[in-house]
Amino acid sequence: MASSSDASASHGSTPESSESGSATEGPDRRGRVRLRRAAVMAVPATAIAAGLMILTAQGALGVQFAISGMPFTVTATELNGTGFEQFGNLDNMAEDSPNAGDTGGQVLVVTSAIKNATLTKLCQSVDLGGTNLLITAGSGADKVQATNLTTDSTELSGDAAFDNIEIGNDASTLSKAGVQGNKGVFSQQADTVHIANLRQTNYATTAAVFKLPGLKLRFSDQGC
């Protein structure tokens, strides 16, 4: 079957009996994408993708972030959380990272961990050089919710209030948010945290589950 590679040989559609990779096929009998076949998968996939995005924008689905390597800014008009820890840390970049500069690939950061956090008017921007990737959420009635929020920041500002704060613990003995630092490092922890006009420059890491009602993802000239 189909052993002659002459173009004039067969014009009708041949059944797809010969498997790919068989060496007897002529060079011009190529495999090809059949549109209708691809649509069998593309249509439901598009529907599911749209559904995921709608559910995320309504805050019904949590989304996980683990961005890093580039510094990015997070702002919120209000943050309320339970289970708060903060300690110094040293972050290592990937070997030969282009972002390392003269730092030797290490950044001194403050790690903040919050077990459950609620944020109003969350805004997150990453500078991509010339343009900013801007994500906003939680500006409506529904707030942004995050669990196990861990951020490594180089800068943190805002008006803060804490309940039952313990300052000067060893970072390896922290218990309120389930994250521990290295032995012999200064740290503090509190039962609840309230920060107004929060602004963070997060350097290396954040990894958490986010619920983002009113999600908006866009490119913008200005960051947060």
Partner: protein, 132 residues
């Protein structure tokens, strides 16, 4: 077969027998998503399975894309797994690598799914051949 043995035409022939663009797009999509996240392993381990999934899904996407390229006989299974992983990265990995990786992966999986071996040449190519 009288085809010349230069590497270019060899590559063209190799490409003709597998869903090349599908596999390539899926591989690139997984790589793009992996590039958007570099959370230090320590934090990932603290957060547990959910943190790990952020790396696991794009890694599996890369594997599926490579397997589509190098084992095209099983392309249906790989593309089905590939599309599920691509959609899953919306939840686990920075909104699917900020949408880019998710779109690339979905398109790649659909191309691999819709690909059939041993098709008639397109009419354009047929005509060109006849003129030659």
């Amino acid at each position: 077969m009288t085809s010349s043995r230069n590497p270019r035409s060899e590559f063209r022939r190799w490409r003709a027998h597998r869903p090349f663009w599908g596999g390539l797009l899926l591989t690139l999509a997984g790589a793009e998503i992996l590039l958007t996240e570099k959370a230090s392993l320590k934090v990932v381990l603290h957060i547990g399975m959910q943190g790990l999934a952020g790396y696991l899904l794009p890694t599996l996407m890369v594997l599926c894309g490579l397997l589509i390229l190098f084992n095209p006989a099983q392309r249906l299974f790989y593309s089905l797994v590939g599309i599920l992983l691509s959609l899953g990265t919306w939840l686990t990995s920075n909104l699917g690598g900020f949408l880019v990786g998710l779109l690339l992966g979905a398109v790649g999986s659909c191309l691999a799914f819709g690909w059939l071996p041993d098709q008639e040449p397109r009419r354009r190519r047929l005509l060109r051949r006849r003129h030659a």
